[in-house]
Structure formats: C-alpha cells, structure tokens
C-alpha cells in the first residue's frame, strides 16, 4: 500500500496554492494534516496528480477572538484547539468535541480545515460548526467568499467548496452568556468514529422557558442533521424530563433512514439519536 506516483508542491502564498489548484492540466488536491487523505492515497482510493501542501502558507494557523467570534485558521491542528484556553473558555462545546476526534496521535497533525473539508458524516467538527452557526471563509481564483456551515456540508464527503477553492478560516460566533451546551457521542471505542452523536445548545428566557436551541446530530445521515422539528417542539416549553423525552421522540420521528453498517443498524442509530437528544438536552439545560 503506497501512494500512486504524484507530484508535490508546498507554495508559500495562498495565491500560488490557488493557481496550482486552478491549473486544469493536472488533477490537484490540497493536503493539510493528511489524517484522512494519506490513508486514501496509501489505499489508492485517491490518485491526484499533484498534492498542494498548505504547510508553508502564512496566516492559516491561528485561534483568536474578533468581533464576538472565535476565528480559527484552517491549518490549526486539533491539538492546538484542544489546548487553547480561549476555546475552552469561549467555545466549551468545541473543546469537548475535540477530545472525541481520534486520538492525541491523530490530533497532533489533523487540522480544523481538513475535518470540515473532509465532511465525514460521522465526524464531530461539521456537527459542531452547524450547531454553533459557524461560517467558512473560502478563497479561490475569483476571490473570497463566506459560506454558512449549514450550506457548506452538502452530503457524504461533499462540501460547497469548488475544486480550486481553499478553506482558510472557520469563524465560530461566541454563544451568548448563559447558553447551555452538551456534546454526546457513542462509539465502539473512545477515539473511533462515532456511531452517532449530538451537539446541543440551549438558551432560556427570563421566565425559564426555552427561548432558543440548536440540536444537531451526526452519524445518522449524509452530513450533520439539524433537528428542526425537535427544536420547534421545545421552543417556549418548560425544561423538564417530559420536554426532553418529547424532543427525543421528535428526533426519532424525523430521522427517516439513518445509515446501517456492520457496527449498528438503522434502527439502533435512530434509538441512539433519540436517547442522546433526551440526555443531551437535560445536560445542556443544567449548564444554562
């Protein structure tokens, strides 16, 4: 198992990187941390003619707070996210999710941008990006554009990125003070890709009823699945076991056809999604 013959370039500017991707004479692919792409190259499931490594491009590796958002450069490793005091304090949901992404040995190289661009339906980061209402800053030959996370993840391993576009930054709005959150995941072993998981945020109004929530599931569809019906069901409701169970039931009813594989059939994934919604909501409300 070795990659097929390929060329490699490590340009120093974004413009050069985009030009290499836009050159139609050979099929080019970005390589970031390589933690998803290298297995595909080794198994020859991917055979690009050129790898464009972003490691020398300046300005893609940062975590900073600006205008009420935490902006994370695409080449920032998950290890840096995990160890960032800013993320722990401002985006505890992202911090919690990071600890479930593979193992420390994978997080040392795997990047934030790579997880978004890979768009694995069982991955934690796309789900958290949708739950927190993140936006993706993307650069291509035509310039720059911003894509809301909800529109970025199209389907299995497919994003709104064009082949000659590079994801440069993910911007996570900092939730309003008092927003509760939870992150729940079920996997066969800690560090494995999830069978299913849920990222939840909830805000209560002055009267203690649910003002707003985001309930987003992963591992149960072609990408992050926002549970609109469950969110609508609990809006204005009074937190308590009954409301949490109703949210779980609404999730189960709305999930038409969760994927089935050797680890879990469709019905089991539906069951997990409902249970994680019920439990996760209770946990999120406790944190408000």
């Amino acid at each position: 198992m070795k990659p097929a013959p390929l060329d490699y370039a490590a340009p120093e500017t974004l413009a050069e990187a985009v030009a290499l991707l836009a050159d139609a004479s050979r099929e080019a692919k970005v390589i970031a941390g390589g933690q998803s792409l290298m297995p595909m190259l080794n198994m020859r499931l991917a055979r690009p003619e050129l790898l464009v490594d972003l490691r020398r491009v300046d300005g893609l590796d940062h975590i900073r707070e600006e205008h009420g958002a935490i902006r994370i450069g695409a080449m920032t490793s998950k290890r840096e996210v995990e160890q960032s005091p800013l993320v722990r304090e401002r985006l505890p949901l992202l911090h919690a999710a990071t600890l479930h992404v593979g193992h420390p040995q994978i997080r040392s190289r795997g990047t934030v941008g790579g997880s978004m661009a890979q768009a694995d339906p069982a991955a934690e980061y796309p789900c958290v990006a949708v739950a927190l209402g993140a936006t993706m800053r993307v650069v291509g030959p035509g310039g720059e554009r911003t894509i809301p996370a909800a529109d970025f993840f199209v389907t299995y391993l497919t994003t709104a990125l064009e082949e000659d576009e590079i994801l440069v930054e993910v911007s996570f709005p900092v939730p309003a003070p008092g927003t509760g959150w939870s992150f729940t995941e079920i996997s066969r072993r800690h560090g494995d890709f999830a069978l299913a998981g849920a990222a939840i945020t909830v805000a209560l109004d002055g009267a203690g009823t649910v003002a707003d929530s985001a309930i987003v599931l992963f591992g149960v569809g072609p990408g992050p699945v926002r549970a609109h019906a469950a969110e609508a069901r609990i809006r204005g409701g009074r937190p308590g076991d009954e409301l949490y169970r109703e949210a779980g039931a609404a999730v189960a009813a709305a999930l038409t056809d969760p994927p089935a594989d050797v680890h879990a059939d469709s019905e089991y994934r539906r069951h997990l999604a409902a249970t994680m919604t019920t439990r996760g909501l209770a946990e999120a409300v406790q944190r408000t």
Binding site: L6, Y8, A10, I31, G34, P39, N42, M43, Q105, I106
Partner: protein, 165 residues
C-alpha cells in the same frame, strides 16, 4: 513524479536526502536511513506501530510524506536510549512485561514518551486516552498500562535527581 531534496534531523543527526514525492516518512526512515526500529503495519493510521515524534509530537509516520518532514526534527525509538543501556520507559516496559511479541512496542514507547515529557504524573484516564491510539494484539493492555505508570514514576524520580544534581 517530482523528486525533492529534504533536510531532516533524525535522532539528532542531520540528513540531506532526495526523495520521491510519494515516499511516506515511515518508508524513508526504514528503507533510506535503515532505521527499522519504527515498524509499519496498517498504513492507514489505525494501528500506531509507526508512531514517531515530529518536533516532539507523537505522529503517524505512515500518514506523512517524507518531503513533508523537510526542516523538521524526528525522534524514533532508536533515539530514546543513550548509547548504553535502556531508556527508563524501555526499562519499565521490560520490568512490567509491557510487551510479548514486541511488534507494537516502538509505537507505544514513542507515544508514552510524548505523554511523560508533557506530564510525568498522568492519571489513568490520560494514559488510556493516549494508549487508545495504539493497538496491541498480544498483551491485553493491562501490562502496558502498568508499564506506563512505572515509566512515569521512573521519570519523576529521574527529574527529582536531576534537580538535585
């Protein structure tokens, strides 16, 4: 297929070499530099036998191209011990029977090394989090867990002794 000149420091020795773009770091270490202590198993990031330190961080050398190591500092299992004797982590694995066939051991040693450099007094959970990224088909892991605890106490003792010296 492009060829590249890489300058890489492995176990403190500077090497300059020409590599094909597609050569993985683990193949470079083993075939070009003859450092066969780093093993290669699954070649897709799952088993962890190929784990080396890249600028001090535990990394799968099967998921990195040699050309990507240009300018970086690599430590392999050959770089653990001084010229004579064993490194305290290696001693601990020997004393607590943290290996049987030994195929997985280089990866466990390097992952443990990074863990203990950062924190010589890790809790059980922290150790399990790291060991969870390494597969062993022989031991059942309990002896490895004990080995890492022993290695941690050896590391602490050594640091205390160094501080007094």
């Amino acid at each position: 297929m492009s060829e590249h000149t890489v300058e890489v420091t492995v176990n403190g020795v500077a090497y300059t070499a020409t590599v094909d773009a597609r050569t993985t770091l683990v193949d470079f270490l083993r075939a070009e530099l003859g450092l066969t202590g780093t093993h290669v198993g699954c070649e897709h990031g799952v088993c962890g036998v190929c784990t080396v330190l890249v600028d001090g961080k535990a990394t799968r050398s099967c998921l990195m191209l040699a050309v990507q190591a240009d300018g970086l500092r690599i430590t392999t299992v050959e770089g653990l011990a001084e010229a004579e004797g064993l490194h305290p982590i290696q001693e601990a694995f020997a004393e607590e029977h943290g290996l049987q066939c030994g195929f997985c051991t280089p990866g466990f040693l390097m992952a443990t090394h990074e863990l203990l450099e950062a924190n010589p007094d890790p809790g059980d959970d922290e150790i399990r989090d790291v060991l969870g990224g390494q597969l062993c088909r022989c031991t059942g892991y309990q002896s490895i867990l004990r080995s890492v605890h022993l290695a941690a106490s050896k590391t602490r003792a050594q640091r205390a002794a160094d501080a007094h010296a």
